[in-house]
Each structure stands twice: as C-alpha cells, then as structure tokens.
Symmetry: D3
Subunit: 168 residues, 6 copies
Amino acid sequence: MKKIAVLIEDNFNEFELIYPYYRLKEEGFESILVGPQAKVYHSKVGLEMKADFSIDEINFDEFDGVVIPGGYAPDLLRRNEKILSFVRKMFESNKLVGAICHAGWVLISAKIVNGVTMTCFYSIKDDVKNAGAKYVDQSVVVDNNLITSRGPNDLPDFMKEIIKFLKK
Amino acid sequence: MKKIAVLIEDNFNEFELIYPYYRLKEEGFESILVGPQAKVYHSKVGLEMKADFSIDEINFDEFDGVVIPGGYAPDLLRRNEKILSFVRKMFESNKLVGAICHAGWVLISAKIVNGVTMTCFYSIKDDVKNAGAKYVDQSVVVDNNLITSRGPNDLPDFMKEIIKFLKK
Amino acid sequence: MKKIAVLIEDNFNEFELIYPYYRLKEEGFESILVGPQAKVYHSKVGLEMKADFSIDEINFDEFDGVVIPGGYAPDLLRRNEKILSFVRKMFESNKLVGAICHAGWVLISAKIVNGVTMTCFYSIKDDVKNAGAKYVDQSVVVDNNLITSRGPNDLPDFMKEIIKFLKK
Amino acid sequence: MKKIAVLIEDNFNEFELIYPYYRLKEEGFESILVGPQAKVYHSKVGLEMKADFSIDEINFDEFDGVVIPGGYAPDLLRRNEKILSFVRKMFESNKLVGAICHAGWVLISAKIVNGVTMTCFYSIKDDVKNAGAKYVDQSVVVDNNLITSRGPNDLPDFMKEIIKFLKK
Amino acid sequence: MKKIAVLIEDNFNEFELIYPYYRLKEEGFESILVGPQAKVYHSKVGLEMKADFSIDEINFDEFDGVVIPGGYAPDLLRRNEKILSFVRKMFESNKLVGAICHAGWVLISAKIVNGVTMTCFYSIKDDVKNAGAKYVDQSVVVDNNLITSRGPNDLPDFMKEIIKFLKK
Amino acid sequence: MKKIAVLIEDNFNEFELIYPYYRLKEEGFESILVGPQAKVYHSKVGLEMKADFSIDEINFDEFDGVVIPGGYAPDLLRRNEKILSFVRKMFESNKLVGAICHAGWVLISAKIVNGVTMTCFYSIKDDVKNAGAKYVDQSVVVDNNLITSRGPNDLPDFMKEIIKFLKK
C-alpha cells in the first residue's frame, strides 16, 4: 500500500487539507498527517487536526509522495529545513509532489521550482515566476512528478491527477 | 450528469460536509449545497460555506440523491418540514439518501427509518432504534438506497458506497 | 438541606444551567454541578463553569434530585453510562428528575421515558415519542417525579414546579 | 403586575443578568430588558440577548424598579444620561434600585450614592467610598429602596431581598 | 539608560499598551512589561503579550517611571496591592507616573489622586473627581510627575510629554 | 505637513500597524490608513481598525510616503493593482516606501525589488532574493527611499529611520 505524507501546520486551509487526506484513504493509500511536531494544529478558523507524526519521526524511504495543502500554513512550513529537505528529496526521487494554492511557497524554498511548469494561487504567482517556474493559469498542471493546482475549486482535478500518478 | 443535494445548516461537521461535497464533483456529479435558506452557514468552529440554493428554490425531480452531513446541523435541519419532505421523497423514489453521524436525526424526523438497517454516531443509536431501525455498528451500511455511516473516520467507506450506488 | 445535582457538559445552554443552579440555592437547597469529570466545561458561546464533582465522586444516596439543562450538552451526557445510571436511579427512587429542552435525550438513553407524559424542545419530540413517551406541548409537565419543560422561556414555570416538588 | 427594568449593555455579566431576569418572571413580575438601544447586546463571552426596549421608548411611571447587573456593562451604561436619569428617578421615588458587582459605577454616576450604606465588587469599593457611600462587605445590603450585592455568589441573597422589597 | 515599567493585565487596550511600549524603546529607554505574574496576558480582543517580569520580581529602585495603559486591565491591576504600592512609591518619589484612559482607576486605588490635576476617559471622570482630583478635559495633562491622557487618540500627545519628562 | 499612507488589509500585524500609525502622528505628520476599501479591517486576532480612505479615493500627489505593515495583510494587498501601482509610483518618485516583515511581498509584486538592498521576515527571504534584491539580515536597511525591517522587534529602528528620512 502506497504511503503519502500530507503536510500540516497552523493556518492550514480546511478544504485543501481535508479533501486530499480522506481522498487518498478512499483510494486505498495510507494518508499520513506530518507536521514539524506530532501535535494538534489549528486551521485558519480554528479547526483542530493532529499530526500523526513529526517530520523527525518519519523515514523518507517509506513514503511514495507528499501533498502540501495551502492556506498560510506554507509560510510556516517553509521555515522548517527538514520539511524542505523532505519535499526536495521527494521531487528529486521522482516521487509525487502535490502542491495546491499557497503551497507554492514551500516548493520555492525547497528550491525545486526552477524550470518546472506549474500553477498556484494567483497572489503568489510573482514569487513562483521569480523562482524560475513557468506559471500556467489552469486548474491542474502535471509536470512529471510535480502536480499543482490553484485553490479549493480545483480540488477535484488536483486529486484526479494525483491518483492517476500514484496508480501508474 | 447526476445531481446530488448536500444539505447544510449551522454547526455542520466540517469533515462530513467538505469531503462528500468535493468527492461527488471529482466523480463528475453535480454537487449542490442546499439549506433552508440560500445564505452563508457556519460550521462548528466557524468555517463559512454558502448554500447554493434554498430548499424552496430547488426542484425535486432534478435531483438524483441527497447527502446529509453530521455535526449538530441535523438538529436544525430536522426542524424544517421542506427539508424533511425532500429527504422522504428521495427515499421513497429509491434515489440515494446518504446520512452520516448525527444525520440519523433527519432520517428519524423524515419518518423513513422504521424497518431499515442502518448505522449512525453511537450517541444517537437509541433514537435510531426507537424509531424502528435495525442498528448495526459498522463503517458503512447499505440498505437499498439508504447509505449510512458512523462518523468522519468512515468517510472513505461512506463515499465509496455512495459512488457505487450512483454509478449503477 | 436537600441536595440537587445539576448536570454539566460542554455546549450547555447558559440560561438553562445558570437559572436552576442559583434558583435552588436561593430556596435553600444545595445545588451541586456534576459532570463526567470535575473540570471546567464551556457553554455554547464559551462561558466557563466548573463541575463541583465528577459523577464518580458523588454518592447517589446523598442526593434528592437531578436537574438536566439543555443545549447540546445532553448529546454528550448521554454517552456516559454513569450519568445515565444516576438519572435512572433517581427516577426509579421517586426522587426529582428535572429535564429541560434537549435534555430529553438523556432521559431517552437512561431508558425512563417509556410510558411517561412529558415535554421537550420541539426538534427532539420525535425521539421522545419514539421512546414511548406521551409528548405534550406545554411550558411544564409534571408526571410524578419527572418534571420537563421546552426551553429557556419556560424556566420560570419549570423551576416553580421543581421547587414545589422538593418542598413537599 | 409590577414591572421591573433590567438594564443591559455589552459586556454584561451572564450570571448577574440571567438570574434576576428569570427570577423576577418566576415571581410573577414583568421583567423587561432595557438598554440604550432596542438591539442585541453581547455578554463578556459573547452571549447574545436583545433589549426589549430602548431607554427612549419606556415610560418611567410604568416601572416599579430597576435591576443593574455587573460585568463591564456598567462602564458603558454610566455614559448614557438617560439611563442615569432613569436610575436616579427610581431612587428618588423610593422605587427599587438593585445593583450588583460593578453596577455600583452606575449608581455613582447617577449621583445617588452619597450617604447610603451599600456593597459592591471589591475592586470598585474605593470609587464607592469616594462617592460618599458607607461600604459594607456582606452578601447583600438593604438601605431603604437600594439593594446591593458583591457578585455572582451573592445572587441568591440579592434576589431574596429584591423580591421581599417588591412584595411589601 | 532609564528603565520604565509598562503595566499589563488581561483586557488591556491594544493601542495604549503597544504604542508606549515601543515608543520608549525607540527613544532609548528600557521598556519592561510588568504584570501581577510573569505570564502571557490577553488584550480585549485576544492579542497575547507576555509580561517580562512579575511585580514580585522587580526592584523599585531600578525604575524611573511607570506607564499604565487602559482598557479594562486597570480594573484588574487595582486589585493587586503590590501594583498599587509600586505606583504610589513612583508618585511619591517624583518619578514618572503616566496613566491613560481607564488607568485612572489604578491611580485612585493607589491613593495618589487627591489634589492633583488630571484627565482620564470620560466614563470614569466621576470616580476621579470623587477621589479629589481636578478633572480637565484635554488630550494630555502634566501635573509635576503625573502625566495623564484620555484615550487612544491622545497617544501622540501623551508620549510626547512622557518623553519630555524622562529627558529632563 | 507631510502625509503618509499606512496600508491596511485583513490579517494585519497589530504591532506593525499600530506603532507606525501613531508614531508618524506624534512626529507631526498626517498618518492616513488606506485600504482597498474605506471599511473596517480585522487584524490577525480580530482587532478592528477602519481605513480612512480607499485606494480609489486618494490622490498620489498629496502623499509623501507609504508604510506597509506585515502579518498576512500583504498577501491580500498584493492582489490589488491600484495598491501596487501606488507603491511603485512612490518608489519611482523617490518618496518614502517603508515595508516591514511580510510586506516584502507587496514590494515584489510592485516590481520594485530588483537591484535593491533590503531585509524582510526570514520566511520570505527566498521570494525577495528571487525577485532580484540583495537580502541583508539586519534590523533596518535604508536603500535610498526604501526602508525595510524584519519584524515587530525592529519597530523602534524602523521608525527612527523613517522619521529621519521624512525630516530630511
């Protein structure tokens, strides 16, 4: 059974975390919430969800991909070197890296954006372009193992591509 | 394209509304938020979602099913005769009726529980039994067109059965 | 001095807990807040009140009655077997059982509703009827030692009957 | 039937407003919530209650007394000349003036404190003494038609004296 | 480098604490948050700030002044004898005592108001007058080492005079 | 009298908006809150402040500078073309542009960062560097008319340089 890390931090976007988390489970994957610490995090409006594991407790080799929800959690996640290194190794190992909305910030700080084609929430498109990405305004963009979307409305398209990738 | 009403009221459970709402869309169905009024509702922790239509604005014949999330929204939904009548007609027309967690209260007040086999959140199992249902403690129970689950952890199983039913 | 347990859990209705709690004291009774644990609970809007004792710490024989406020606290209280057993023994010992609004759910799960005449908040009247009660729509209903009311507006009538019962 | 105004403003203490409001009703009095405006006010933790009438809409002659709850509402009430004038006329007409906790601030600004014997929440006792009152530290103090208490724990004693006065 | 204590308690006014705290630092003074305890306090809307020291930990002789912000924090600060004694000694030692808005309550309970000329938020002007002060309605009033203002709009004038005093 | 626009949007950092706003006033400048609309905005914890003017209502020529507070307000401000154009013209006209913490995002989208020396909150330093700035980790950086700081602790240094610039 494939194992996917869904990254969590405070101020996560509720839709973008809840939907992928359960969707992966429905498809038969292990969906694991991973944060800087193995503690309860609060969404933008205060919804509580507990990280199953801290980034320190997990073993990169056991995971087949990472999904990064948006909200302002990415501004916190990008401050953590271990999180960034985990995302970078995923990308470089050709494992799934899914990022939606403001999660583009994590990709930027993980230094994996240069030369890729991707999308993101429109308010951060300047950051994404400046980092060397080719920015495209569409619901989901698949560039090899990097799958990106713009926001909550794109969740169905985002997860369709993520599942297609994982089932290859 | 099949059209499903997802019922919304204040105090809705975030997981149980968000997951089915997007899951139906991903599968290619029209997923429509329907509440007593076409206004913004607030979840238990204050997440805002807007009903696409009020129960007064929709036409029963256009819909192929209804999904009722839990939380304490069902205690409010069951006070609305039009909501109850909509659910009852769905059930009697052999269209999909999906109910999770505390949504069993809506089924009880819609008078469709007597004789069915179903599950629900354990705190309301006495209400469900007293209403004449055969209560079963399992992640999802399918009794013809009535599909029920116990709570957020059962969402993957719940939606798998709902999609299987809708694709028949 | 007679001793009355007022049950408390999170999401209690502020009016229905505060008024009986102080009213019993004014009349010279001991009014004791009892919850599943001896901790601080939060009302629907976040008002804090601390349970004087947990249900485990109290001795049934010392109490002359129980009052159960509404809100959504009853959905939590009915999950606790010791709370249900305490209420059932009160009822069977012909001691006071006062229940207002959604507190009817606790009576249902305590299995004391069959055959009684009672009232409750209108959204749960189906649950109460299905449990075998004769439901009456009036401000307060006295059926031997069971005294029930519909909601906050009925508090004056509710407490008048409760005090009359306790002073007999 | 005697008619009592219970004053309301934002930041009212929940206990000190709810208990007197219903207690007067139980005793058969008309209990009317009066605020600077006929609108919804919010308690310290956000509980909503609506003033039945604004101070502009009511007729002094129809009322037999006023009860002033505490919290920080009194700091707002004392800014309103019509409220202060209403309280002063009550006092001078030998009608009931009940004040609990921080409500002493309203009495001070209504200029009725000089020479009276009274109590209040201990944090404002300097203000009360400076205004010319004889401050006493006891649960309830009756000085002719002025009845004062210290805080929520004194509510039973407070209302006992208020009712005794109104029934004379 | 001169050292100023800025007093903190729950329900502090955000503007009246934040502005003086940083302003003193900008001018090159040590600005120290002092509360009854060395813990996190919450403003009226929930902003968190941590007291650098508790009143028990600090040495009066090391400080050159005290600034007391408003909000409802002063109603809590005036309950603490050590806080009051600290303010009184500041005043009697001709060191700076700055008080804005509702902070006048602290001055009253510190018994330093009799005979001074000062201003305050208008809702507490009766308390200030009753305590023996000459109340003046202007943005800032300097009476020797006592500097007072009415509210947030007066912050620029308030701090101008405080800095002038400290630089003498 | 010089006139400075302080930009406001929801999720503004309380310290970084309140301190510059009043500090400019104390120094004798006109400090004007400008947002996308002339309405009330809410800080991260819910503090309310009202924009004096919308960006549509103001005249660029009347202003001598702009100060941009941090928090997550900059992620909203950078979505508004008129705000970006206002900041760009300030920069190009050699008028003051002050930006603290996450406000660097606004500078990036205003396309004024390439080639400048600046600082910012460390989580966005990759975005700033990618946009062509020379990033420096110090409390305040002055590059001609662009003055930048890292966060709340740098407010005293930030405002010292801003005032020095405005007084030249």
